[in-house]
């Protein structure tokens, strides 16, 4: 991937733009404040000068003022000052001649001078520079003007402007450089993850990502991605297993069904024989339908995305109903059925699936426990966990097979002779997983205890 296509680079660019904008605003504020201050300083100096000259005039009169101005123009401290004294008809009396000429041409100055002192900025054609001037009327007889060159301010203005310009350029370049550096850093990590993912995909999700040692967000991302890859891998494996199992376990009943029908058609038979064969075929296909429906239920529970129809389920009440439903079946088989009913337990979930999971456990217990045995259904809360248990006194499951029986279509050899499709525990397990719980198998000495465990909600 090219550097300029990365989002980090684009972000650096945006950041540089934003930063320059901030720099321009900040520096130009400084610039304007400084400019104002310098102008004010010039004006203060001019006022000071004109006050001093006015005082002089008031004390010693016109001739002395003219002399005083001449003196001043020869001393270093006032060299950057300009002076002009004229009468009201703009006849130049002393100081810089051009100032009088300028003032004569300025109507606005003359107008306001009737009442006030007048500031203005004028152009000095000799020096080709700009002057800040202050004029005042003395005793309504004379016009006194003091001026100071504006060039120092203008120079400052220029310097500051170029300083601001340079600062902005430098900051843009710097932020860009930093941005590019950072995006390169990020890009390296991303491309490591990218190539790792590619390897994983090519290896059918068997290979996983190398986890960066530093615990940053890339570490976190890699961990999460690995979890995802593992999940994909296990789903793929699961799917393959299921396909194999379906092929294996559905082929024999389908073959049986087909053969039965073919053999029936081999020769002509009487109606009773046909009917018998048909009825058998219907039974076979009913079993197949049941198997399919169980598979669908498991698939639904495992997909487990739609949680919007979950409701607060009264588990105690649900189990009460299931106990009532299955008690008769247990009694029919001469099993001692007990239901240890707790206080109401509420749990948010899919009622139909929970009911089906519990009924699968009950059906298993009834199926595998020989007559004369006992089955216990109970529910309890312990350490904020909800336990739903079905215990029997049947043959139990050897420890080594406990994990195996949860797999789809997995039937222990001892169970081959009983009816069933080997999906009961898979479904219970899928339902438990869907509700963030799990399925535990333990020994009942003798017999089997199956526990559905959920985290108590609320």
């Amino acid at each position: 991937m090219k550097l300029h296509e990365t989002s980090a680079f684009r972000m650096a660019l945006r950041f540089a733009g934003l930063y320059s904008l901030i720099a321009i605003i900040a520096l130009s504020s400084v610039y304007f404040v400084m400019l104002q201050e310098f102008k004010a300083q010039v004006d203060r100096e001019l006022i000071h000068e004109i006050e001093e000259l006015t005082t002089h005039y008031n004390q010693y009169g016109k001739q002395s003022l003219i002399q005083h101005i001449k003196n001043r123009q020869q001393y270093g401290r006032h060299l950057h000052h300009y002076y002009a004294v004229a009468d009201l008809k703009f006849n130049h009396l002393s100081g810089n001649n051009f100032l009088t000429t300028i003032i004569e041409s300025k109507d606005n100055i003359n107008h306001s001078l009737t009442f006030f002192d007048a500031f203005d900025i004028v152009h000095d054609e000799e020096d080709d520079s700009r002057l800040r001037i202050l004029s005042r009327k003395l005793d309504t007889l004379y016009l006194l003007t003091v001026g100071q060159s504006n060039s120092s301010i203008e120079e400052l203005q220029e310097y500051t402007l170029s300083a601001v310009f340079i600062a902005v350029i430098v900051s843009i370049l710097l932020t860009l450089a930093i941005g590019i550096y950072m995006s390169k850093q990020a890009l390296n990590k991303i491309s490591r993850i990218n190539s790792g993912l590619e390897e994983s995909i090519n290896s059918n999700f068997k290979k996983h990502l190398a986890i960066p040692t530093r615990e940053d967000e890339f570490h976190e991302l890699s961990l999460k991605l690995n979890l995802m890859l593992e999940r994909i891998e296990s789903l793929l494996t699961g799917m393959r297993q299921v396909t194999d199992n379906i092929a294996h376990d559905l082929r024999s009943p389908l073959t049986r069904l087909r053969n039965r029908l073919e053999v029936t058609l081999l020769q002509s038979r009487n109606e009773d024989e046909y009917r018998h064969a048909m009825e058998k075929a219907i039974d076979d296909s009913s079993d197949l339908l049941k198997t399919f429906n169980s598979l669908l239920s498991i698939a639904q529970a495992e997909a487990g995305v739609k949680r919007n129809d979950w409701i607060e389920v009264d588990l105690t009440n649900l189990m009460d109903e299931l106990a009532e439903l299955y008690q008769l079946v247990a009694e029919e088989k001469k099993l001692d059925f007990s239901w240890i009913k707790p206080e109401p337990i509420f749990f948010k979930g899919n009622k139909q699936l929970l009911a089906q999971a519990i009924s699968n456990l009950l059906e298993n217990a009834i199926k595998f426990t020989p007559s004369g045995g006992a089955i216990t259904l109970r529910a309890f809360i312990e350490n904020n966990m909800i336990f739903i248990g079905v215990c029997d006194t049947g043959p139990g499951i050897p420890n080594k097979d406990k994990n195996k029986v949860i797999d789809r279509f997995q039937r222990l050899d001892s169970a081959r002779s009983t009816p069933g499709n080997g999906l009961g525990l898979s479904l219970a397990n899928a339902v438990a997983t869907l509700h963030d719980g799990n399925l535990q198998l333990s020994d009942n000495h003798p017999g089997l205890c199956v526990l559905l465990c959920f985290v108590a909600s609320g």
């Binding site: 339908l289 639904q300 008769l328």
Partner: protein, 255 residues
């Protein structure tokens, strides 16, 4: 090869349908049924089966013409597939309900999820059947729906031969003798009485009487039925509660 299989299937359906007509003699009501299903093969099985069970069947292969037909003709029952070309099944049901046509609708679906079922019933469907299903199941559900069309009047008593139940007092009598039933047994009997003469499947019973919509793997319903049979039929000359092989149960006077 394919045709052979197909013919075989149709034959088996014919045979089964004949059995049904025979066993349900006297109770058979001809219904006018609309089937909207785009899978022609699946539709032909259903149409054959329904026709041979004595019903009058029309078929549409897509949602648009299906809706048109449903709007113009008067049907007793409609069987509508969920996924159809042109217009999906649920929207047809919604359109019908909006047009104030309250014909019972059975929705067929290949999506086997519980919440889809809920969705289907919410959209205005009266029953929901997931593929793959058994034809006997479809037939039983259609019968149940047709009965539903005659609104359940607020009746207090249901009677069949000498069996009588009082819905308000929760009392059951046969030949004048009171029979004590558990609450669930009473609901089971009430459902069977309300669908007197019809075949009800085990799945329907589990749905309607126990409110669970899954297939039990064991004979749990049979056990409850046999317990009920012991109470209402044992010791009487005419059994009323019959097992229909491969389909379910039926409560009726004649065998």
């Amino acid at each position: 090869m394919f045709h052979k299989d197909f013919e075989k299937h149709v034959k088996s359906l014919k045979l089964k349908a004949k059995i049904k007509v025979q066993t349900q003699q006297g109770l058979k009501i001809t219904m006018h049924i609309l089937v909207i299903e785009d899978d022609i093969e699946a539709a032909s099985y259903v149409i054959k089966g329904l026709t041979e069970s004595g019903h009058l069947v029309h078929h549409s292969a897509d949602g648009k013409t299906g809706l048109g037909q449903a709007l113009t003709a008067d049907y007793d029952i409609m069987i509508i597939d969920r996924m159809l070309p042109e217009r999906d099944g649920l929207s047809i049901v919604a359109a019908l309900r909006a047009a104030n046509i309250n014909t019972p609708v059975l929705i067929l679906s290949a999506l086997g999820e519980v919440d889809d079922r809920v969705e289907g019933l919410k959209a205005g469907g009266d029953d929901y059947l997931t593929k793959p299903y058994a034809f006997s199941e479809l037939l039983a559900r259609i019968d149940a729906l047709s009965r539903r069309r005659n609104p359940e009047q607020t009746i207090n008593k249901l009677k069949l031969a000498d069996l009588e139940i009082d819905l308000q007092k929760h009392k059951v009598k046969r030949a004048g003798k009171t029979i004590a039933l558990q609450p669930r047994e009473f609901r089971l009997l009430e459902y069977l009485m309300r669908h007197e003469g019809q075949v009800v499947s085990r799945t329907m019973l589990l749905e309607q009487v126990w409110d669970y919509n899954f297939d039990p793997q064991t004979n749990v319903i049979d056990v409850h039925i046999s317990r009920l049979r012991n109470k209402i039929d044992k010791g009487y000359d005419t059994p009323l509660l019959h097992t229909i092989r491969g389909a379910g149960y039926s409560l009726r006077e004649t065998a």
